[in-house]
């Protein structure tokens, strides 16, 4: 009589109970593991890779901040300090001057300062910059690519789903550790001074 099988309904009930216990244990373990991982891993923030950037203008129009938290920054060690600066002057400018009609920047956020013949320094006024990348396109096309965009973390809300990253055609946005939040250009500062590297800006 001892080899009598248990009824089928009891077997199924035991199986469901066991399954539920297992699922609970796994989910609890998962939550605990995820919490532990999150507490030990570094916090991440959004940043854009200037070498991937295609100067599409989305940083100016898509950011939830007004004006955008993306700003133009200047790698002075890459800059040629040119008189005829492709990032400052419109291609069809009638003179190499600071006249408004000759400036490429729609908000006049770049200040041109004479240093010595024939050098000029270009400084970005971040309060005026809207992150449109027009100057970046000009500098990349004709210069060394010293003007480039970066997410400025004193302004960025660090949205979970970055509105610019969603529409960036170059997928240039990425999460970077908060303790190293910028991807600044500048071959000389990073020790990369090979001819090929500099040619690529």
């Amino acid at each position: 009589m001892s080899d009598k099988k248990e009824p089928k309904s009891i077997e199924r009930r035991r199986f469901i109970r066991g399954g539920m216990q297992m699922a609970l244990a796994v989910s609890l373990g998962g939550v605990a593991g995820f919490s532990l991982l999150k507490s030990t891993s570094k916090e991440l923030v959004w940043q854009l890779d200037p070498f991937k950037c295609v100067q599409c203008g989305r940083c100016a129009t898509e950011c939830v901040m007004t004006p955008s938290a993306v700003k133009c920054v200047h790698a002075y060690d890459l800059c040629g300090y040119c008189d005829l600066c492709g990032g400052y002057l419109k291609p069809d400018s009638n003179a190499r001057s600071t006249a408004a009609e000759n400036q490429l920047c729609p908000t006049a956020a770049i200040k041109r300062k004479y240093i010595e013949e024939p050098y000029f320094e270009y400084v970005i006024e971040e309060n005026l910059c809207i992150g449109c990348a027009k100057c970046v396109a000009g500098c990349t096309s004709f210069g060394n690519g010293s003007l480039h965009l970066q997410v400025r973390h004193d302004r960025c809300e660090n949205c979970n789903d970055c509105a610019i990253a969603r529409v960036c055609p170059a997928d240039a946005f990425q999460r970077v550790p908060v303790d190293n939040p910028y991807l600044i250009k500048g071959g000389f500062t990073k020790g990369g001074t090979s001819k090929d590297q500099l040619k690529k800006g």
């Binding site: 100067q55 040629g80 492709g86 027009k134 000009g138 096309s141 004709f142 210069g143 001819k195 090929d196």
Partner: protein
């Protein structure tokens, strides 16, 4: 009945999830294709008058190695240096010689004795035509960045973009003179070299020409290092040079007309010996990207370009009248 209801709920849920994901995907795709209100439009400057195009591309062939340093030509042979190799091709694109270099090359030229001179960033080596290493100069220091070489008899001119100077050396690498240092008394403006584009060439009279790329000028120097003459046009238009470092590469034909190659908006042009714009060898539409092709010319006045973007050797010949 209950099972039927559960199935219906599950199907509705699955459809809803698919709709949400699809909408997000399509929305994201549409967002990526919106127009750029801040577009930097260079189309106007890429257009050229077709009557100004005096050359036509007659042949091109691909290069299989990357990181090319420069190109030169001798007789019916095209010689190119990549970062690590020296290669020779005939005009049909057939490789006839290949050799690994001892270091990373940055520029190349060939002299009238068919000796190949290669700049290795901060020193120079010389190979004979069979690829045997004949000379190796001492280093010019860590700051040196050699971008061009020109040889005339026993005189070797080395363009150093790092120190913004042209060294006039003998064939053993001893410096005879430093050319182009700023000197107001001698009215030498000094080289402005914002990036590693600094080319030199020798004209038919044996005089040195250097491209002062920061000023968009060609400067011609006497044997004693004094400035003989200069010319240049700064403009985004076709007859001028723009950006920080143009003309990036130069070559001189035996009638002393100049061939120029520009970066930013790549184009190859021809100027007469006085610097007057003659016409276009290759318009911007012939190129992709922004790197300036290195150029050389042969005795038949063909322009041979090393296109870094397409990884090709491209041969341009003057159109028949």
């Amino acid at each position: 009945m209950n099972r039927k209801l559960v199935n219906i709920v599950l199907i509705v849920l699955a459809v809803a999830i698919v709709i949400v994901i699809g909408k997000d995907f399509i929305g994201k795709k549409a967002g990526k294709n919106i127009e750029n209100p801040f577009e930097y439009n260079m189309d106007e400057f890429r257009k050229v008058d077709s009557t100004q195009i005096l050359y036509a591309e007659t042949f091109h062939f691909p290069l299989k190695i990357h990181d090319w340093a420069g190109i030169t030509v001798s007789d019916s042979m095209i010689i190119v240096a990549s970062a690590n190799h020296l290669l020779k091709f005939d005009y049909s694109g057939k490789q006839i010689f290949g050799k690994q270099l001892i270091d990373t090359a940055t520029c190349i030229t060939i002299d009238e004795n068919r000796q190949i001179w290669i700049g290795m960033s901060h020193y120079v080596v010389m190979y004979d035509i069979n690829g045997t290493l004949v000379k190796r100069w001492n280093s010019f220091g860590d700051r040196a960045l050699f971008t061009s070489l020109a040889v005339s008899g026993e005189n070797v001119f080395v363009a150093d973009a790092g120190n913004r100077i042209v060294y006039h050396c003998n064939t053993n690498g001893q410096i005879i003179r430093r050319i182009g240092e700023k000197n107001e008394q001698k009215e030498i403006p000094g080289f402005i070299i914002p990036s590693p584009y600094f080319d030199v060439a020798i004209d038919d009279g044996g005089f040195l020409w250097a491209a002062n790329t920061g000023r968009h000028t060609f400067e011609n120097y006497n044997a004693d290092g004094s400035l003989r003459t200069s010319w240049g046009v700064t403009s985004f238009k076709i007859e001028g040079f723009s950006g920080c470092c143009n003309p990036a590469h130069i070559a001189i034909l035996d009638d002393n007309s100049f061939i120029t190659s520009e970066k930013g908006m790549p184009r190859i042009k021809i100027y007469d010996q006085h610097g007057q714009f003659i016409g276009i060898v290759a318009p911007p539409a012939a190129f992709e990207g922004s790197l300036a092709p290195d150029i050389t010319v042969d005795k038949q006045h063909r322009v041979i370009a090393l296109d870094f973007e397409r990884q090709q050797i491209r041969i341009f010949e003057r159109k028949k009248e």
